[in-house]
Subunit: 298 residues, 2 copies
């Protein structure tokens, strides 16, 4: 694998994350099997593994060993997956398909889908508490628990989803939309990069660089997602194109205009890459991921 | 307060827990206010605070300071509360009232009730990660995170709720009912007592005694709950008497017979108190709680 083979490195990260998830989720033989089957069904549903990839890339960017960041990487993917299961519920966004497959409640029923989500969220913290097999200090591990809980909770992702539901079909101003995006998707992406850095032993200056990078990539990622929902094909998206519009969701292009949205995405990604300067060569995967987010929209 | 004033001690524990919950939940002024209002609505809905009381009593039983166990006590109450919000949802047990008040989804709608539950579960781990203001080591705190995640997850409480839903309206054998009770209510009660001990610095022998106590009190508590559902008045229960029967829920009396259920509850509580022998005088509150569970059913 060449030093700068981005696709190869991402594939290696994905393989490590998938192996960890396979190993660390409760076996399907555990009673009752249906809840553990439902948990795995959604975890292995073709996700891009963006958040765990960011965890591992951030860990390497500060000179850490990816094995030390693997529990946090797996935990963030479980939390992302639980949020999708709950978001898809009839009482929430009421989606029957995700990435071309029936959503959890269509396969297992609403009750089991709610519980599968609850189980994944809880298991994420179980993984973070289990200190076997890595070299992260208890103090750093606790800090990782706190970072992830902050990002996923009612002041982060859960609060963002609540704002999203409250905003449906309403006019939303720019400030509210930015707060909504920062919480609903930005907080977990920011936490992914930060906990990767913490697991890798980042000092305060390196963590500050990672945070600047993450905040900009996170918002750019969401802007691009909003643009693709309007301009992309259903195949590219893995979900029905135009669905935000039909649901009356506030999006970056609808609030800021399409040209401004594209310009903001580009400048955020340039700023994200600039924030990596202090980290040097080791941050090349993070830089490549910023480019990748940018290419998705073109 | 007299040394053996059980009611006084329990009232003091409750006051400490309520003050901690008031202080440690996100303020209702945080955006969006409705999610934080919903979280507080269910946390301050007249619960008995049994789990946090067990945490604090177990901490004192091994000579610890209750302040050191307060984050774990508050976290367990948040997890218990989230489980009630999700259990009450239309897709689950579909209950409109709990303790005489409308349930979360009746007040805030289903989407916000799901999110309030998610937010409480996540915030529990935020509290456990925050090391300010107590003297528990990072290693012990991580162990507490792990104990609580194990007890609350798909191999514990969430798995028990899944079993409960799958068992509705079906004949359940004795072994299945015991596993269901051990997971749905037993696991969190066991964790409450154990993490109280861990926060209080319990050695292995003391933790073993606490665990024996907790497993027996937890099952007895559930048996008494099942008995009261059949024999108690709606007023005593705070929920509609006979509701388990109407929902076709498997209960201890329906599977083992009423006389056996009562005899088992009594012998479990006697064993629970015997398990405290090694802990001596400091465990008097735990002994009093076992007596209290027994008195509930007579």
């Amino acid at each position: 694998m060449g030093e700068r083979d981005l696709a190869g490195r991402l594939a290696a990260y994905r393989a490590a994350v998938d192996a960890a998830l396979t190993r660390w989720l409760p076996p399907q033989t555990e009673s009752p099997p249906v809840i553990h089957e439902a948990m795995r069904y959604s975890v292995f549903a073709g996700g891009k593994r963006l958040r765990p990839i960011l965890v591992l890339a951030a860990c390497e960017a500060v000179g850490g060993r990816t094995d030390d960041a693997l529990p946090a990487a797996a935990a963030l993917e479980l939390i992302h997956t639980y949020s999708l299961i709950h978001d898809d519920l009839p009482a929430m966004d009421d989606d029957d398909f995700r990435r071309g497959r029936p959503t959890s409640h269509k396969v297992y029923g609403e009750a089991m889908a709610i519980l599968a989500g609850d189980g994944l969220l809880t298991h994420a913290f179980q993984l973070l508490s289990d200190s076997a097999g890595d070299g992260v200090s208890p103090t750093a591990r606790l800090r990782i628990v706190g970072e992830i809980a902050d990002a996923a909770g009612s002041l982060g992702m859960v609060g963002g989803q609540a704002m999203d539901i409250l905003a449906e079909g309403k006019a939303v101003d720019q400030e509210t939309l930015l707060l909504l995006h920062r919480r609903k998707t930005g907080a977990l992406i920011r936490a992914a990069v930060r906990v990767g850095g913490i697991a890798g032993g980042a000092d305060a200056a390196a963590l500050e660089s990672l945070t600047r990078y993450a905040e900009r990539v996170g918002l750019a990622f969401q802007i691009v997602d909003d643009i693709l929902d309007l301009e992309g094909s259903t195949e590219e998206m893995g979900k029905t194109a135009g669905s935000d519009l039909r649901k009356g969701k506030a999006t970056y292009p609808s609030v800021f205009g399409m040209e401004t949205a594209k310009a903001h995405a580009d400048s955020l990604l340039a700023e994200a890459k600039a924030a990596l300067d202090r980290l040097g060569e080791a941050s090349w995967v993070l830089a490549g991921l910023a480019d990748y987010v940018g290419r998705r929209r073109s």
